[in-house]
Amino acid sequence: MALILNEEAQMVRDTALDFFRERSPITAMRKLRDDNDPDGFSRDLWRQMAELGWTGFLVNEDDGGSAFGMTGLTQVMEAAGRTLAATPLLSTALLGASLLSIGGTKGQKADYLPRLLAGEHITALAVDEGSRHAPDQIGTTAERDGAGYRLNGQKTFVLDGHIADTLIVAARTGDAVMLFLVPGEAASRTRLSMVDSRNAALIRFDNVLVGPDAVLGGGAIALELALDRARVGLAAEMLGSAQEAFDRTIQYLKDRKQFGVAIGSFQAMKHRAAEMFCEVEITRSAVLAAASALDQGSNDAAALVALAKAKANATLYLCGNEGVQMHGGIGMTDEHEIGFFMKRSRVAEVSFGDTRFCRDRYAGIMGY
């Protein structure tokens, strides 16, 4: 397991940091929100990301990708988290690319991957159904209907579900969980308006008929691997958001004067700032370890994934909330950007495993 970046990953990191800082600062996310943009992200920007190769990090070279792995993709997602950029990185470059690569037939890969890699095709994973992430509790059914299947059920909080060209749907066929490729327009979709402007949708399947070629291989095992990648990818994004909220708050502590001095000179601020520093750095170690373990297929990967997501949950919560508190009144205004980080922390925490989910999973893997 490598806990420091090699030169290649360092280059990806630098490119991504520049890219989002220049082309997708927080003002871009605010504009999408204020304009009530129907897509909720910029298709043009997404094509630019595809040109940089980010859509192909989890796709094999034979299929047109670079197989750079999670170590590379987490660098991009961390950079996106710093500016709260609205992108289909998680839904498409991570989940869609993973599931198609793992379980896709030759024909499915040839059909979907070139368009996905080019930034022309958005996918979304429809997995959760209840009030929180619970991939082992799937009620959506897929019943045999002729040569194909008939889907019935409801999926909630499907990231990028409102604009997905293809939905990857986890459904139950008897005791087994299978994955299906369903055209986005075949389902009934309601865009969700989230507190942090994250793109998500509620999706209903009422007797949606799909052909036999809609079955995506890999089933529950592929789903589990893709979800572990999603947890680390999201943890990396959250790490970037936490780092940014932390950096901005430290700067504010140096700039803001009260009682004639910088408020960062007060010990009540210093100690909390130092605690935040520790948590951000400890979270960084966990995210690096989990990404590296997934790329290497290590035995301890699943435990490290649960660890990384749990730490990211706690640390973004801390930095988001301390960020608002330490900014004082200005932190409560919509005009100031620090509040966006606090809103994001809540939404990101429940996505792909809240803290109690991660602890339960970690304890289970560790044998207690």
Binding site: Q267, K270, S285, R356, R359, G364, Y368
Partner: protein, 393 residues
């Protein structure tokens, strides 16, 4: 390196007595010195064999009796010792604090005189830093040393001098220029405790043990040659030594004879019961996982810092957090152990409690000192805020 590893392993297998491949209770830790007391003869045999190789101080230069190993080689030795469950043959402030400082700041004569006996465990050192009026504000210390020709005349009162009553020598911070600003009038002095003017008195602690002492120094004549570094420039050395001390204390959770330590989750299962392989009490299980995950993430951070150091990058800011995080986690571990044990974690002595239960209780009390000694957690937070984050005074 594989050949080196194999050689180390076969030497350890041949030379480490079986009795030294068992869990090491607190009273069997070897710190050496003229007053050393060995519970079992194997402790001394193991110490002498390791000292002969210089492996009590693996990375110190061979010309002073050290092992002369590179960092990577020392890591292999450590890993093989852990894997075989070999006890650490010798511990103490000579190895962990004074030695590294003498290698960096001492004269050739001071190194020749003091380092080999540290490696062999012949001389035990203690630390004369804190005073009754100088705790976190260490630089306000008042122990006075007056240069009189070829010697210093020293008078003062040190406190929290761990194991002073078992030690042979004491390294002290003394004030040599009372007129200068407080950081600029301090010197670093080595004092032989054989002098009757040096009187350590054990202090009974909340754990019932008396590892800490206060030490009175009255009219003690110390040869001028025992001054380490320049006169009045002791604060630089003092801070350097504290870095070594904090590194040692911060590593406490990792070092705790991991191979033999009873895991927290096993204790939790024992007392709360087990259901489908899980700790039966879901709240306790959640808290055990929360602690274990924080400890795991901290270990990864230590490893990341080590990888950064090996890659030749300039030392990053990570090490600033080790003392703080390591000690807070160690305290939390004992809190969790007691929480899991319930009534059985509350015994002071007697047959109603197992030796492990009594040990955990005493160690729980001992662990409270972790976040005080060597710079409190609050001082560590100040250091991070100032040096790493650059927050203003």
């Amino acid at each position: 390196m594989p050949i080196f590893r194999a050689a180390i392993r076969s030497w350890l297998e041949e030379n480490c007595p079986p009795a030294m491949r068992t869990f090491m209770p607190e009273n069997e830790q070897v710190a050496g010195g003229n007053r050393a007391h060995y519970v079992r003869p194997e402790q001394k045999i193991w110490l002498d064999r390791m000292a002969a190789k210089g492996w009590t101080a693996p990375t110190w230069p061979a010309k002073y009796g050290g092992g002369g190993l590179s960092g990577d080689e020392a890591l292999v030795l450590e890993e093989e010792m852990q894997d075989l469950g070999c006890r650490i043959p010798l511990r103490g402030m000579g190895l962990s604090m004074l030695g590294p400082v003498l290698l960096e700041y001492g004269t050739e004569e001071q190194r020749q005189t003091h380092i080999p006996p540290i490696v062999r465990g012949d001389i035990r050192w203690c630390q004369g830093y804190s005073e009754p009026e100088a705790g976190s504000d260490l630089a306000s210390l008042r122990t006075r040393a007056v240069l009189q020709g070829d010697h210093f005349l020293v008078n003062g009162h040190k406190i929290w001098t761990s194991n002073a009553h078992h030690s042979d020598w004491i390294f002290c911070l003394v004030r040599t220029d009372p007129a200068a600003k407080k950081h600029e009038g301090i010197s670093f002095l080595l004092i032989d405790m054989d002098d009757p003017g040096v009187r350590p008195r054990p202090i009974r602690l909340i754990s019932g043990a008396s590892v800490f002492c206060e030490t009175f120094i009255e009219n003690v004549r110390v040869p001028a040659g025992n001054l380490v570094g320049p006169l009045n420039k002791g604060w630089t050395i003092a801070k350097r030594l504290l870095e070594h001390e904090r590194k040692g204390i911060g590593g406490i959770a990792a070092r705790n004879a991991a191979k033999f330590e009873i895991p927290l989750e096993a204790v939790a299962k024992h007392f709360a019961g087990e259901q489908d392989g899980k700790i039966a009490d879901p709240i306790l299980r959640d808290r055990v996982a929360a602690y274990s995950m924080d400890a795991h993430a901290f270990q990864l951070t230590r490893r990341r810092a080590a990888e950064e150091a090996e890659s030749g990058a300039a030392p990053g800011p990570l090490s600033a957090m080790f003392k703080l995080q390591g000690t807070e986690l160690n305290k939390r571990r004992y809190e969790m152990l007691l929480e899991a044990e319930g009534f059985q974690g509350l015994g002071w002595e007697g047959d109603a409690f197992t030796p492990d239960q009594l040990r955990f209780t005493r160690e729980w009390l001992r662990s409270k000192a972790n976040s005080i000694e060597g710079g409190t957690s609050e001082v560590q937070l100040n250091i991070i805020a100032k040096r790493v984050l650059g927050l203003p005074d």
